[in-house]
């Protein structure tokens, strides 16, 4: 009977959204219900165009629902999406910062590739805005562009560097999404930034960020992980670059007090990085001990992660891993038959 109810509701909504006298306020209410119906798996495509209109004509809260509906209803190559561009352009130039934020948010989620040139200059401009939330969202919009059309943002790499050095941590953190991707594609082009990433991580780990960025007393864990991943890529097969990071990796291992789950998440990433970069024996030793603690943990999620790390270690360099493996195995109470087999190489 859910089907019957929803279909009835949908017919009623269809009538309401098509009626010329419907107020924007009512439209907003309808839109919320349409989102709900689509979530349950029913088709409400008759409402898509009205979502765009709502974003275009509505006041703040109505606009916000309109944009949300668009992000949920449409996909990147939907024809209707082109109709949103004018609204986005208008909102990007609004004096109301909340509207600017909404426009930047929608661009970061869904935007037609071929219309990037229409908004790119406006967004680049926002990189220098006095409000950090605008700068941050502008970086994220550019990240989206980098994902869907990298050659269109090729010319503004210099601006990403500026974002990396932004005085606001949130803006800097946002730029790391772009850097991680670019470094994955071509690490050699960014070796010169290793020092910067190391410095930032040192500051984070050393507790130099505003307390507000703490998550359960751990400083900016997602930021730490991004940096660890970046460093792992930069130091791979490169002794000189790796040497720049041994200190901070060591400190990350030390600082992480095994209290909250998120610390384990960071440690896992740290261990992964240590085993990805040019090997340094003391660090590998410490990392191996760390894995041991994971695998020993009574908490099943941590055991899982420990075994995953163990797998990575073993595959990375079997000869190197063998000596450390013994450390780990010594920690295990009941050696698994698979591990026993492993030891009998």
């Amino acid at each position: 009977e859910e089907e019957k109810l929803i279909q009835q509701e949908l017919s009623s909504l269809k009538a309401t959204v098509s009626a010329p006298t419907t107020t924007l306020k009512t439209m907003k209410e309808c839109m919320v219900r349409l989102i709900y119906c689509e979530m349950l798996g029913y088709d409400a495509s008759f409402g898509y165009i009205h979502a765009i209109k709502l974003a275009q004509q509505g006041n703040l809260l109505e606009k916000r629902v309109g944009y949300l509906a668009v992000s949920l209803f449409l996909h990147e190559s939907h024809e209707l999406l082109l109709l949103l561009v004018n609204t986005v352009v208008k909102d990007l130039q609004s004096t109301n910062l909340v509207e600017v934020c909404m426009a930047l948010t929608i661009v970061s989620q869904i935007f037609p590739r071929e219309m990037i040139p229409a908004v790119l200059p406006l967004i680049e401009d926002k990189l220098q805005h006095s409000k950090e939330i605008i700068r941050r969202k502008a970086v994220l919009a550019l990240y989206k562009f980098h994902l869907i059309a990298p050659n269109q943002v090729q010319h503004i790499h210099v601006k990403f560097r500026k974002a990396l050095c932004d005085r606001d941590v949130g803006v800097m953190a946002a730029s790391l999404h772009i850097y991680l991707r670019m470094i994955k594609e071509n690490s050699s082009g960014y070796k010169d930034l290793t020092g910067s990433f190391v410095t930032i991580l040192k500051q984070v780990v050393g507790g130099k960020l505003p307390v507000d960025f703490n998550y359960h007393n751990v400083p900016a864990p997602w930021l730490q992980i991004q940096l660890l991943r970046i460093l792992g890529l930069l130091g791979k097969d490169d002794q000189r670059t790796s040497e720049l990071m041994y200190d901070v990796l060591d400190e990350s291992l030390r600082r992480a007090e095994l209290s909250h789950n998120v610390t384990y998440a960071i440690l896992f990433e740290c261990v992964h990085t240590i085993y990805s970069v040019y090997p340094k024996s003391e660090l590998l030793e410490k990392a191996a001990k760390c894995i041991g603690k994971f695998v020993l943990s009574p908490k099943i999620n941590l055991k899982y992660l420990g075994l995953k790390a163990l797998t990575y270690v073993v595959q990375r360099d079997p000869t190197l891993a063998l000596q450390h493996q013994m450390t780990i195995i010594e920690c295990l109470d009941h050696p698994d038959p698979i591990i026993k087999r492993e030891v009998n190489w």
């Binding site: 919320v32 709900y36 979530m39 349950l40 798996g41 088709d43 006041n59 703040l60 809260l61 916000r64 629902v65 949300l68 949920l72 190559s77 909340v98 934020c101 909404m102 948010t105 970061s108 989620q109 939330i133 941050r136 994220l140 990240y143 994902l147 941590v169 949130g170 953190a173 946002a174 994955k184 505003p210 507000d212 960025f213 998550y215 900016a220 864990p221 997602w222 930021l223 992980i225 789950n261 998120v262 384990y264 998440a265 896992f268 990433e269 992964h272 099943i300 999620n301 941590l302 055991k303 899982y304 992660l305 075994l307 995953k308 797998t311 990575y312 595959q315 698994d336 698979i338 492993e342």
Partner: protein, 186 residues
């Protein structure tokens, strides 16, 4: 996918599979495919997709995954392998929060992402419960989009996420009050 019984079985199976079949390198882009919120009765409360997927395919995947997760026992691992994805899930009271990630990611941090989201909802709604999500699900989406942009976690201060949402709410309130006053004066 893993439907293992015992506490240790999940993890050892992953070890076996990963080790015996050779290494699986980290994919170039680890990304979130989708996030779902659903009740213990299998009622969907929120879904956010980060990769364009047809409605038909979405329905199929959601239905299948809900079944798999709902069948899990309490003491089991919060991570499971399903289709070509890693699923990280956690139950909070009557709601299951479920993330599907591609590639070889750090499942534990994804679990924390879920927790972070719950904390934000809690702070916004003031001790959140399923009803809050049902009746204000668009707000739940706003909050999600603010801290999980395009599937990537924005490590920002908790304050800034909620401030962004509240700003719009507040402006709307002020405007509504102004409208009311205007009407009264007429």
């Amino acid at each position: 996918g893993l439907g293992g019984q015992g506490v240790g079985e999940d993890s050892f199976r992953v070890w076996e599979r990963t080790f015996c079949r050779g290494s699986r390198p980290r994919s170039p882009r680890v990304r979130m495919r989708f996030m779902l919120l659903f009740s213990r009765q299998g009622k969907l409360r929120l879904q956010k997709w980060y990769l364009a997927t047809s409605d038909k395919e979405r329905k199929k995947m959601v239905r299948e995954l809900m079944q798999v997760v709902l069948a899990r026992k309490p003491k089991m691992c919060s991570f499971l392998e399903w289709r070509d994805l890693k699923v990280v899930y956690k139950r909070y009271a009557s709601l299951y929060f479920c993330c599907a990630i591609e590639g070889q990611d750090n499942e534990l941090i994804t679990l924390e992402l879920i927790h972070r989201y719950v904390e934000l909802l809690d702070k916004y709604f003031g001790s959140v419960c399923e009803l809050d999500i049902i009746f204000n699900f668009e707000k739940a989406y706003f909050i999600l989009d603010e801290f999980l942009m395009g599937g990537d976690v924005q490590d920002t201060s908790k304050k800034s996420v909620l401030k962004a949402i509240e700003q719009a709410d507040l402006l709307q309130e002020v405007r509504a009050r102004d409208d009311e006053e205007e009407e009264q004066e007429e």
